[in-house]
Symmetry: C2
Subunit: 104 residues, 2 copies
DNA sequence: TGATTATATTTTGATACTTTTATATCCAAA
DNA sequence: TTTGGATATAAAAGTATCAAAATATAATCA
């Protein structure tokens, strides 16, 4: 019972695991909101805290998760840290998620 | 400190919650693999079990999660149930996830 | 009817995740 | 060199998720 004209999605289990872990880091309301607040810009932690609206500690921990998965990267300037989205295609991903899941 | 030319990603908290819940249902290795096995086809539970490789009960639980979030839909034929991906754009999403997160 | 195949649901114990609170570190300005 | 703002880390407590096992439902067949 083989597929006839199936597009290749992800075939290696290793890749499936890696992708699922990265997606998991995005699949939390606060972390998805962080991505939406960042957009294509560089934003300081304090500004993210103000926009997203939870404690600084909580934001910092969620930022660490996104950073550890490679979704975000940082630049330090004096005593402030600026976060931005590492790969601009991540924004396309968020837009597509919105199109598919938010237009009910 | 306002953004100047930021694209609108997801602005309503309600939409962010809905999107994050749907993504969360995909962000598990077995469930992502189920999507990859399905592709654009309709596949029976038993065939999914054979392809993905875990117990029938476990697959059924994961299918229920994807079904409840609207990612999958079903058709029953006699005593078998066939699953397919509800919205074909979900496949685009998986492809983009693969491109962004699996090409390191 | 009784047996068999296919799928779904419930329960349980373990593990992982999230939030909160408290504390620590880093850096610049005074 | 102390002070205060900004960020990170740690520990604790609450909550959610997971896989496995057992059980249940539903359709088919003998």
């Amino acid at each position: 019972m083989e597929a006839i004209a199936t597009k290749k999605l992800i075939d290696r289990d290793e890749d499936i695991l890696q992708a699922s872990m990265a997606i998991k880091s995005i699949a939390h309301p606060l972390r998805l909101k962080i991505l939406c607040v960042l957009g294509d810009q560089e934003v300081s932690v304090q500004d993210i805290v103000d926009d997203v609206g939870t404690s600084q500690s909580n934001i910092s921990q969620h930022l660490a998760i996104l950073r550890d998965k490679g979704v975000l990267c940082t630049r330090k300037d004096a005593n402030r840290v600026f976060y931005r989205i590492s790969d601009e295609r991540t924004l396309k991903l968020v837009e597509l998620m919105r199109d598919v899941f938010c237009t009910a």
